[in-house]
Amino acid sequence: MRGLDLDYMAGLVPVILGYVPKTMAMASVAMVLALLLAALLAIVRVLKLPVIDQFVAVFISFFRGTPLLVQLFLFYYGLPQLMPTLSKIDGVTAAIIGLTLHFSAYMAESIRAAILGVDRSQWEAAESIGMTRAQMLRRIILPQAARIAAPTLMNYYIDVIKSTSLAFTLGVTEMMGAAQKEAAGSFLYLEAFLVVAVIYWLLVEALSFVQRALERNMQKAFAR
């Protein structure tokens, strides 16, 4: 057994760090889109809008019921067979779409639970002053639901960041893809994957720190 090639690892760190912005950009775009979609899906479910509600239920069931990797392959390699225009989509776009759909299904369920967690009296008070349903949701219910859902949604963001590593299977060179390429050239797999693992870990730890600070801050609000 030989020791780790520390010099190689030290040299690899800046290379992988160079891909952090790309990973974070993919994750953040997917997160924002997924949040918007999830909020819409959750509202459809809470209001039990006829017909659409059934579609949304099936959508959520599918994207929670199948692995993300399978979904990504289905979009990137499978769908162009049906719709040839899709073959022009690059790996980054496909990964963002896949992550968005996948995580929107999970987050829709969290947001739905959070909306249902807002006290019944808040809906009634909003009704009593003559608000429309859209006004109630936007002004009263969603702001309170956001507070309830925030910790869970932050966890999903962390999950999205880690899941971007699957984009390398679509030929995208992000942190994981870069590590893979480096390892393939040097045959130093352990070193390369160790470096990428530690960088993911530090990234997530930094975010968890921010998350805890935000949560402390949120507990303070509404109690002035």
């Binding site: 006290d119 008070a125 002053i129 003559g130 608000m131 509404f222 109690a223």
Partner: protein, 256 residues
């Protein structure tokens, strides 16, 4: 404020499943009239108020406020909104918007529903806050207010919208005894302004003081109604007498 808006409730019936909670209720209010509803718990008093602005949808009713007349059987969403915009509702548990300050609770309906400018709504809210004596709490969130303060804001929120009818659903029942007085004082002040109001209450002495007319309900029906002196001192129906005996035998609390 005085409105010249007649209010009529005709044939109001509400069922929960097979249980008929309100059975053919008919009630008219003249402009500026203050009507108190009393009766045993579980007799449909709160449900009656909640049916008037469709928080609970009546199975049958024609509700008329001035020139607006809504039939429960065919009520559209627009008609229900219109009805709610002409009534103010004060909840037993205050139901202040938890994500809004005291002032924002008052301005919310003015800005979002009425379409007022922020500055006009703020000016109106400051007037209301002054009249309910909570100017210094304008920027407090509900969680930082006492029950009595929250209920006064709840009343202010309903007042600010200047509806033709104010509905009070047991406004002091959830309060610690120490806060009941300040809330009753505020309602008395509003009643003195001849605001048309319908108030469900367990505070018999209070009902006697502020009401022009007292309605006694039992089993989902109006049993007897009349001026406070008649209902409290010379009730005609045996059920009214039995209820008042029970209430006065206790400490003024009609639960049971």
């Amino acid at each position: 404020m005085t409105t010249d808006c007649h209010i009529s409730i005709a044939g109001l019936t509400k069922r929960f499943g097979t249980n008929t909670v309100l059975n053919d209720i008919n009630l008219n209010l003249t402009p500026g009239e203050r009507v108190a509803i009393i009766g045993p718990s579980g007799t449909g008093k709160s449900t009656l108020l909640r049916c008037l602005n469709f928080l609970d949808r009546p199975d049958a009713a024609r509700i008329t406020i001035g020139d607006l007349s809504v039939d429960a059987a065919s009520a559209t969403r627009a008609e229900i909104l219109a009805l709610r915009r002409r009534t103010g509702f004060v909840f037993q548990n205050y139901a202040l918007f938890a994500n809004k300050t005291a002032r924002q609770n008052i301005t919310e309906g003015l800005v979002t529903v009425r379409g007022w400018s922020r500055s006009k709504a703020d000016a109106r809210a400051d007037e209301v806050l002054a009249s309910i004596g909570l100017t210094d709490k304008a920027d407090s969130y509900p969680a930082a207010l006492s029950g009595g303060q929250q209920q006064r804001i709840g009343i202010g929120r309903a007042m600010a919208l200047d509806g033709d009818l104010l509905l009070f659903d047991e406004p002091t029942s959830a309060l610690d005894p120490e806060w009941v007085g300040e809330v009753l004082d505020l309602i008395r002040q509003i009643a003195d302004g001849r605001q048309t109001m319908l108030i469900v209450t367990h505070e018999m002495q209070f009902a006697r003081e502020i009401a022009d007319r007292v309605v006694f309900m039992e089993g989902g029906r109006i049993v007897e109604q009349g001026p406070p002196a008649q209902i409290f001192d010379a009730p005609e129906d045996e059920r009214t007498r039995a209820f008042l005996r029970r209430v006065t035998a206790g400490n003024g609390n009609a639960e049971g």
